[in-house]
Subunit: 372 residues, 2 copies
């Protein structure tokens, strides 16, 4: 993505060839800051404290975290500690697990002196692959948007999205937002309803920032609003990302996604999930029963950050000091509520058959596990 004339990725190796620069997303939308990571502990901090977030970017950051650990100490003990530390940062995103497995495989059986270079190469490929995946998702989603816009005839295509599945959630382009950028660039008129996405407001801060920077028409709404808009024909299509998708097509995504999927179904609005194949958990079936849902600290609900009257970012308290709060970070949208998956290989039904039609190489693994 282009910011003030310069082309950025959300993560890249610094000029020293070793450190890793990421955009500190906690400072957005009011300030654009780069955080430099030089140790695996900093990489783990960046993931768990949500300096970076979004399933694909979490995977990329974890991959470079392994590089930073090996740079300091390339022995197996160091590798194991890095995998454990990074693996414990966020429980829901499956890309994290996937990226760590890929990195482990890429370096474990190499001579010690080759590990660091191999790790950086593999991490760079994860990033490059992610960009290609996002572009493919964008092209497949664009075809759907074109069709919906043609069927609508006049006026912009009103698209509702939840949380941030844009370039800030990936290495570049995004998942759910990639087709929106492409549609806008190619002259398909779009307008995006941006759910603010409490408690961390990734919609109001990150998605609104991204869309604004790219010039895409949008309106921020509170998370409560989408149902009303759909009842009144003001949403033509919903599109969201996912942190983990089961082989049966259930989708774990940011808390509140399920509520929008219910409203879409109740009002006949198509509900699409954009996903890189790395978010598919081929071992999981029943998402509600099997996907671990991260419980984060109450503070994220009880406080919120914003730009104060003096131009500085300040955190304010929203609830009575004695009131407890609960903070579940994701929910699961059952496959029955999903119109289709937009993947890097094309579009399919949200079901095992649908997924296998695009990813037939998983057929034997999945069937072996006795999954019907």
């Amino acid at each position: 993505m282009r910011i003030a004339g310069e082309w950025y990725r959300t993560i890249r190796v610094a000029d020293d060839g070793r450190s890793v620069d990421v955009i500190d997303q906690r400072a957005l939308p009011f300030s654009f800051e780069i955080m430099r990571l030089t140790t695996v502990e900093q990489a783990a901090f960046a993931i768990s404290e949500m300096v970076v977030r979004g399933a694909p970017l979490i995977g990329a950051t974890a991959a470079y975290g392994v590089c930073l650990a090996l740079l300091k100490n390339p022995m197996h003990g160091s590798l194991d500690r890095a995998l454990e530390l990074l693996g414990a940062t966020r429980p829901t995103a499956v890309n994290l697990r996937w990226a760590l497995e890929v990195m482990d495989e890429a370096v474990r059986y190499l001579p010690v002196e080759e590990r660091v270079a191999a790790a950086y190469q593999r991490a760079a490929r994860i990033c490059d692959d992610d960009v290609e995946i996002s572009k493919s998702i964008g092209r497949h989603g664009l075809a759907i948007f074109r069709e919906l816009a043609a069927a609508k005839g006049s006026g912009p295509l009103n698209i509702l999205t939840h949380c941030n599945a844009g370039w800030l959630a990936t290495v570049d382009w995004g998942t759910a937002l990639a087709p929106i950028y492409m549609a806008h660039d190619e002259g398909v008129g779009v307008h995006v309803w941006v759910d603010e996405t409490r408690p961390r407001n990734q919609g109001a801060s990150l998605t609104a920032y991204e869309l604004g920077a790219h010039g895409v028409p949008h309106s921020v709404i509170v998370d409560n609003c989408g149902g009303h808009l759909m009842q009144h024909g003001m949403v033509d299509v919903c599109i969201v990302g996912t942190d983990r998708t089961t082989a049966a097509g259930d989708v774990a995504n940011k808390i509140g996604t399920y509520l929008k999927a219910l409203a879409a179904r109740d009002n006949g609005v198509p509900f699409y999930v954009a996903l890189p194949q790395t978010t598919i958990d081929w071992q999981a079936r029943d998402g509600v029963a099997e996907i671990p849902i991260e419980e984060r600290e109450a503070r994220e609900v009880r406080f919120i950050s914003g730009l104060g009257p003096d131009g500085r970012v300040v955190e304010v308290e929203l609830t009575p000091p004695s009131s407890p709060a609960a903070n579940y970070a994701f929910d699961v949208t059952p496959a029955r509520l999903v119109t289709g998956f937009i993947t890097d290989r094309g579009v399919c039904e949200a079901s095992l058959d649908g997924l296998l039609s695009l990813f037939p190489e998983w057929e034997s693994d999945v069937r072996e596990e006795g999954f019907e």
Copy 2:
């Protein structure tokens, strides 16, 4: 309700016998402030700026607004101006219209010199009646909670509520919260999931404040969270208030209510609406098509107030300055998603037949209009 040892109503005539004192709900939960209203303009301000809110309390405040107008000038021109000014403050709540009609009837045909006293008497009766209505709703809801708790067997009854339909929304006791207070007081173990209710956070500020002051166990959650809780069996019943209920049983309530009703239906969780009969709009049928939904200023979405680090309430900006926002204040929950109405006359099905079984005096009016 009792606050720091003193029994309060949310609205009462001051010691001077003319001014009207209300709790400034914009300052809660961090500060308890009384605002004194001495003119009809101040009463209108209090309603439109949400110093007071909640359908029953809006009605009571409008009633006293008429008193204040007549106090200054008891002629018909003054009465008409007051009715117009107050009637334009909030478009969705039907109690407002009802209270103004009641006040108009009570004074219009009286000799000029009797109007002021009659107005104050009628407004006082609206308030006293509202307290009795809340108590009745509480008793009928309590019976339902008792049954649900008995069926559950062990553990507290987990109740989810949206926005604030407690004593701060009425003159005393509340609608949706009245049975919760009564259940808690009578030893039925309850725990309340409090939706924060963006954009104005009436849940996180007012409901959490009320419940905390009364000692009722509760947890604040973001509006996105309820679906996840219901999927995991963590909600036994939902109960909300309403700003307007159609004769067919559709319910306009704070934006986001519809999403929770959808989740309740999807997970087999009972969804009750507590309502004083004054919120029934016997002329309206199809809520989505007929109930006007207030659109409020974008600022309420783009900014939020909270307690800053220096102990003062401060407003912070949440979105990029260039991002527009849309702010619809209510949505409509179709009758098909509502398990039952808890009214001051008892419990009924959310349908015309259900409502007429409790309010048969409306039968001829409704049938005359050709409503099937």
